[in-house]
């Protein structure tokens, strides 16, 4: 894990070097005070240079950067000079909420759906479900978002859900429960857009896994004992079928984070995705760097988490064996 972490820092650092222009002069230029004498600009540039160690050789720069990274000091945003870390601190919880909700819903729906179609394979129900899931999987999510907005969000048809923001303007006046409800109401459309693709994928996976498990000898043994079919499925089959699904969780998060960018932009939700997009638009390098890094970090964390879950669920795996 540690070397991977190092690799992440290396690549982020490398990518940032691709940025055209000297960060120092860019910073100096991006300041909002228009009236700066040339002398002042010079001063800012040389100070910034010293601050970022830009006058030192590149590996020293890397070292300095690593040190600051360890303290989560990403510098200040070029746009509004706020510390990057606080901007991320505002945006991260929102994106995390969105994504955790998505993961929960995806798993909650896809596990039963997959299991159900596995129990009656090749029936017409199974085939229709498979086709529907396949179609869902191929829909581009920004198109779905637009369609949902048109149909349900105030276009020519129904107006059931808000299409902008995380909360309505009067949210601060609501009680705690009311606030939660308000947030939930705002999140219906974006979460739908984020879930459907992963849902399709996971359902098919869950079906395949369940099919594999049902064929096993121990299921036959369970039936030979006279256990009811539901016990066979839920106690014996399900736990085994879940094992590969858990390991998938580690790869689910990065794809969700990617989808967040577009969805958050369309629905104007102030999360990491939108922050990232805006920072790219305005060439706000410290923020870009920070988001790339934190994104990678989160992915690493979720892989670790799913590994841990794997150890918990499958008694054959001990932590030492998994790490080896």
């Amino acid at each position: 894990m540690i070397p991977t972490l190092f690799g992440i820092t290396l690549i982020t650092f490398f990518v940032i070097q691709l940025a055209p222009g000297d960060p120092a002069s860019l910073k100096a230029q991006s300041g909002t005070d228009a009236l700066k004498s040339d002398q002042m600009v010079e001063q800012v540039v040389s100070e910034t240079r010293k601050l970022y160690g830009l006058d030192r050789p590149i590996y020293v720069q890397y070292g300095i950067w690593l040190g600051r990274l360890a303290k989560f000091d990403f510098g200040n945003s070029y746009r509004d000079h706020r510390p990057v870390i606080s901007k991320i601190g505002d945006a991260l919880p929102i994106t995390l909420t969105l994504n955790i909700l998505t993961i929960l819903i995806v798993y909650l729906i896809s596990i039963p759906v997959g299991a159900y179609s596995a129990l009656k394979p090749s029936g017409w129900r199974d085939r229709i479900t498979a086709l529907a899931l396949f179609v869902l999987y191929s829909l581009p999510n920004f198109w779905v978002a637009m369609m949902l907005i048109v149909l349900l969000g105030g276009g020519d048809y129904l107006n059931l859900f808000p299409i902008v923001g995380f909360t309505s303007d009067n949210a601060s006046t609501l009680s705690w429960i009311g606030w939660m409800g308000n947030v939930a109401w705002h999140l219906v459309l974006p979460v739908t857009c984020l879930t459907y693709a992963s849902l399709a994928f996971l359902s098919r996976f869950s079906r395949a896994s369940m099919l594999e498990v049902i064929r096993q000898d121990y299921i036959r043994t369970a039936r030979a004992k006279g256990l009811s079919e539901s016990k066979v499925v839920w106690k014996h089959a399900m736990r085994n079928a879940l094992i590969p699904l858990v390991t998938l969780m580690g790869t689910l998060l990065p794809s969700l984070l990617a989808g967040s960018v577009i969805i958050e932009q369309i629905f104007a939700i102030p999360g990491m995705g939108r922050l990232g997009f805006e920072s790219v638009l305005s060439r706000d390098y410290p923020v870009i760097m920070a988001i790339a890094f934190i994104g990678a970090l989160l992915t690493l964390a979720s892989v670790l988490l799913s590994d841990l879950l794997y150890v918990v669920i499958d008694p054959r795996i001990t932590f030492r064996r998994k790490a080896a």
Partner: protein, 297 residues
């Protein structure tokens, strides 16, 4: 031997009518993309005195401000956009962008992936460790965001898009190839070749790769679908091809501006993307089932 392997797969593939239909769709799209200038253009060709005009007699850029935002009609089967441009013509030309980005990007990623995969899988040891770490690191990054960032740095152009997508999506192929090489490395025929003194390169090309190629082909097919989606998303966000070139994603983004008066403009480009992606996914599925029918059920 290899010749019959391919025909074996083809025979199995043919069994699924859905997959074959999807393949026909993919090929047709390819043809449309190549012949777009002949299909949709306001210029006409004169052959021996006869003037032949294109079946869709509009260029994607020929605008007519007197006929904006029209619905479907006989002359404009899919209507016109906010500047009077024929939507169908734009759709046809947009396919060029999507297909070319899809293929080139996947081509790049497959080449990188095979290269790294073979190095890691065949040589093992330290090389494998380093490359595996690299693969892990690459997989951690939020790919789409990375693509955005890099494009912001080096400027979006169709070539840059192809390269960046290619450079960020090779990890799957690399892992596949590495796995296959590791599996096959200790098999008898490789050991035999080694004992006979065959040079590494020969072993790799003649023995290892052909076996690894089929899953790579499956992965590449899905990769094209994914690359097309990424390009569309980029264009949608304004980071794609320059607005002078028609692209399905940018068509959608323009349609977004007119959502309150002409929301139907979102249908055509969106459906085009959906259809293309579905077709490639279906072909990929068909290939996968044809190669290993055990995975089906």
């Amino acid at each position: 031997m290899r010749h019959s392997y391919a025909s074996l797969i083809w025979r199995q593939f043919k069994k699924s009518r859905l997959a074959v239909a999807a393949l026909i769709l993919v090929i047709s799209l390819f043809v449309i993309a190549i012949f777009a200038p002949l299909i949709a253009s306001d210029k006409s060709i004169s052959i021996g005195g006869f003037k032949i005009s294109a079946p869709i007699p509009f260029s994607p850029n020929s605008y007519d401000l007197s006929r904006i935002l029209e619905g479907p009609s006989f002359t404009h089967p899919l209507g016109t956009d906010g500047q009077g441009r024929d939507v169908l013509s734009q759709l046809v030309w947009g396919s060029r962008v999507s297909i070319s980005v899809g293929f080139v990007a996947v081509g790049i990623s497959v080449i990188i992936g095979i290269l790294l995969g073979v190095l890691a899988g065949y040589y093992g040891g330290a090389v494998d460790i380093v490359i595996s770490r690299l693969i892990e690191v690459m997989m951690c990054f939020p790919t789409f965001f990375l693509i955005l960032a890099v494009l912001a740095f080096i400027g979006p152009s169709i070539y840059n898009i192809m390269i960046v997508i290619g450079l960020t999506s090779w990890t799957g192929v690399a892992r596949l190839v590495r796995g296959e090489c590791l599996k096959l490395r200790s098999r008898e025929f490789v050991v035999a070749a080694r004992v006979a003194g065959a040079r590494d390169r020969r072993i790799v090309f003649r023995h290892l790769l052909p076996n690894a190629l089929s899953p790579v082909l499956v992965s590449a097919t899905f990769g094209v679908a994914s690359a097309i989606l990424v390009e569309a998303s980029l264009s949608f966000l304004g980071f794609g091809v320059p607005p002078s070139t028609a692209s399905w994603g940018s068509l959608l983004s323009q349609a977004q501006d007119f959502m309150d008066v002409a929301w139907w403009l979102t249908l055509a480009p969106g459906f085009a993307i959906f259809l293309t992606v579905t077709a490639y996914n279906l072909v990929g599925e068909g290939l996968r089932d044809a190669i290993d029918p055990n995975l089906k059920t």
